[in-house]
Amino acid sequence: MKLRILLADDHEIVRRGLCALLQRHEGWEVCGEAVDGREAVEKAKQLKPDVVIVDIGMPNLNGLDATRQLLQHDPNFKVIVLTVTDADQAIREALDAGARGFVLKSDAARDLVSAVEALQSKRMFFTPRVNDLLLAGFLEKGHAISQSQPPSLPTLTAREREVTQLLAEGRSSKEAASLLNLSTKTVETHRSNIMRKLSLHSIRDLVVYAIKNKIIQIEISPDRNPPAAKVAEQGQGTDSPA
């Protein structure tokens, strides 16, 4: 029986590359693709893949929140997070979300097959840098790194984080309500709670919070300042496939 993989990345060209890579492996099949975190969650529930590969920077629902939702629905989901950075915070957040694999996009051609193989064998897969960080956290603190520095994100509920991402991406309360199958009034209540909890006063503040906390990511021009004005779903300062 083939190992079934669900792929989630908002760039079709990246999905094509990942598909080509994974399908060269005998015994594996890409059973579905998703263009954002929301679709990834829906398709994972429907298709019940053996492994889910999610990009972190996706519109509507980012990969980390998608991972949280998946594991809340079924803790047996095996998720590999694809990321453009292995900065400490990104690693902490991926581990905190429950990912069992962490692969840099720039190294995906080399590491992704190994990561899927690891999960297939009920092991975890992390880049050498993640392993170093985990070891350092263990040695210094005597316990797991995820406990060494509480991430700032869980001050919001999962729903509030979803609303934060959609509003920070420029959607109106009505549009966010439609995407989340909620009433506009409920979204506005969430919005008020978010602003109050975080002591924010404007949508601009909310966008800054979302960027700082990697709920959305910005696109930065390569060799010039200032950065491109567009708030994008990925980039991390390079023209990455993100």
């Binding site: 760039h11 990246v14 094509r16 990942l18 060799d223 491109a228």
Partner: protein
Amino acid sequence: MDDHPIVREGLRTVLQGRLGWEVVGEASNGIEALEKAGSLLPDVMVLDITMPKMNGLEVCRLARQKTPGLEVLFVTQHDSPQMMREALSAGAKGYVVKSNAARDLLRAIEVVIQHQVFTALTRPDPVTSGGLDGGRD
């Protein structure tokens, strides 16, 4: 030419589906792209903007100076009218946003090999809207 192998793999799968087209080489940084453009003499060079060692805009300028018949198509993360104009100023004939590359790439190359301009941002360029953006010039 893209520094991410997985993107090159994706581009290759799109391009290889087209009868009569051949991917003659790949490069993972700007210097390598420039060298391969000079040695392989492709009809079209598909370039990323942000690459290690030399950015795509500079590669485009130099490659066009050395090989005047070479056409350059950018496939980039930068969904920016300003960046698109810089790319065209550098001598590129095409500009496609990476998020839409799977949809736009083949059509863009068809246009570019006819030495015409193809640009496709996800939103209209206020300067060139009605002219360049979204298809042939």
